[in-house]
Each structure stands twice: as C-alpha cells, then as structure tokens.
C-alpha cells in the first residue's frame, strides 16, 4: 500500500506544470494547423494573379509577351524571332 503512495500523490506544482504543458502543446498544434489556411489562400491567390498577369502569344514571327500591371494596365512586349538573345527582363513586384 505504501509503495503506491508516490504514484497517486503528485505535488500540486508539478501537476499544474504538466497540465499547462499539455495545454500549451494543444494550442501550439492548433495554431500551426490554423496557419495552413491563410498560407494556402495567399499562395493560391498569388499563383492565380501571376497566371493571369503573364501571357505569351505568337504574331507573325514575333513572340508577344503581355503583362498586366497591378494597376490593371496592359503592357505588350514583342520579341522578334531573329533576335533570340534579347529576352525580356522580368521586373518582379510584391503585390500579394
């Protein structure tokens, strides 16, 4: 009977600490899982914006690069097929 005593009587401070640790772990796991939602939304939104913003078409031997600015303005850049080394330099912005 006396051997069981240490198992059943945990000091209140240690009990409080382990209970707090369990709660901290639970909240931390929930927080990491919750962060997936805004992360996915941000990533998908940025991906959609980029897909919509850049388009390449061919017109009479020219590659026409159509880009949309964040203000909605459309810019078209034509690269002649005879000048393959002149590739358009992309300027990246952080709009998302």
């Amino acid at each position: 009977m006396t051997d069981d005593a240490p198992l059943t009587s945990t000091p209140p401070r240690a009990r409080r600490r382990s209970s707090l640790l369990r709660t901290v772990l639970g909240v931390a796991i929930a927080a990491v899982l919750a962060a997936w939602l805004p992360f996915t939304v941000m990533y998908v939104t940025a991906l959609e914006r980029r897909t919509a913003a850049v388009a390449v078409t061919w017109k009479s031997g020219h590659a026409v690069l159509t880009t949309k600015t964040s203000g909605g303005q459309t810019i078209q850049t034509a690269a002649p097929a005879s000048q393959p080394t002149q590739t358009p330099v992309s300027v990246t912005t952080r709009s998302s």
Partner: protein, 207 residues
C-alpha cells in the same frame, strides 16, 4: 511589371500566415484576461481552466511572433537582417508600421513573461504592468493594418473587427466601477441582485 513567382515567396507567405494566427491568439488571450479580471466569468471551476488557457495562449502567441519575424530572415525579397526584425524602425519596408509591430512584439514579450518574475517585482507592480497588455494589442492591430499586405482587405478588416469587439466590451466592463456593473435594474420590476456588490452592501449599512 509582373508579380513575383509564388514559389519564391514561401517564407513571405508563411510569415504572414503565422502573423495572422498570432494576432488571433493575442486577441483571444487579451479578451480572456480582461474577462477574468473584470469577473465576467463566474461559473465555478471555469476561471481556473481559463487562467491556464490564458497563460498557454500567451506563451504560444509569443512563440508565433518569433516565428513570424524569424521567417522573414529567409525571405529573399525583403532581406531584413536580424536588426530589421528586432529593432524598431530599422527595416526599410514600411518602416513606421513594421516598427510599431516590433515595439508591440517586445511589449507583449515583456508583459507576458513578467508573470514569471512577479515574485521579484511584486504582485502589485506586475498587476500595474499587466494593464498595458492592451497597448501591445493595439500596436499589433496598427502593424497589421499598416504593414500587412492584406491589412486593408475586407476579410482582414472583418477579422480585426470581430477580434476587437469582445476586447472593447470586456475592457469597458473592466473599467466600469463595480457599483455600476452590479446595479439592480430598477423600474423593470426585476428582483434585486442576490449577491450585491461589496460597495452596494456598504451603502446599505450606512443608510
């Protein structure tokens, strides 16, 4: 100008996502603290559980703030450096509002962790310090609106309004004098309060 490749912005998105969760958890922690100190929650046994959750959510919020800032170190576009994420107004990107966020983060850390040194600073000093936690929340809101890319988007403003409303309510209730909080509703035929506030009892004894 074209938007940057999203795959090159993973740390940027992750930082913002953790920042969003951090402000939610900070709001929950502040609202709970105000509700407990204002004695809004009276059900037996519940305050002890809520106190534990308040402490746990504060610790996790502080960890999320560290993760939010730390992930920016790996962002190839921003490159803030350690000084940029730790010192107010040192970052070139929206320096005023990032600075406000850094001050808010430090304030939250100092006020949150002061709980563990209250034996040395004294319970009275700690309680006085702890009242400024609402300032840390307000600075965080300012940081989200001013520095966050989604700060002025409808969903973020709706989220902030939803988080701030209970805090405003609990804060107003907390600062109201006890007599005003427990005043029985006269003129409606309602019975007087079963447990009048100490101040109300005092008035009864005097008259």
């Amino acid at each position: 100008m074209t938007p940057a490749d999203p795959t090159h912005q993973l740390f940027w998105f992750a930082s913002r996502a953790f920042g969003t969760v951090a402000i939610v958890l900070l709001a929950v922690s502040v609202a709970l603290g105000l509700a407990m100190s204002g004695r809004l929650i009276k059900r037996p046994g519940l305050p002890a559980k809520l106190r534990r959750f308040h402490e746990a959510s504060t610790l996790v919020t502080l960890a999320l703030i560290v993760v939010h800032g730390g992930l920016l170190l790996f962002d190839a576009f921003l490159r803030p450096g350690l000084a940029g994420i730790a010192l107010p107004f040192a970052m070139s990107y929206r320096s005023l509002f990032t600075g406000i966020g850094i001050i808010g983060g430090w304030l939250a850390a100092i006020l949150g962790l002061s709980f563990y040194v209250r034996r040395w600073i004294g319970a009275k000093t700690w309680r006085k310090l702890h009242r400024f936690t609402i300032v840390a929340y307000l600075l965080a809101v300012g940081h989200v609106v001013g520095a966050g890319t989604d700060g002025r988007s409808p969903w973020m403003l709706a989220l902030l309004a939803g988080l701030t409303a209970p805090i405003v309510f609990a804060f107003t209730y907390r600062v109201l004098p006890a007599a005003a909080r427990n005043r029985p509703r006269a003129g409606r035929g309602g019975a007087p309060a079963r447990h009048p506030a100490p101040s109300a009892r005092l008035v009864t004894q005097r008259s």
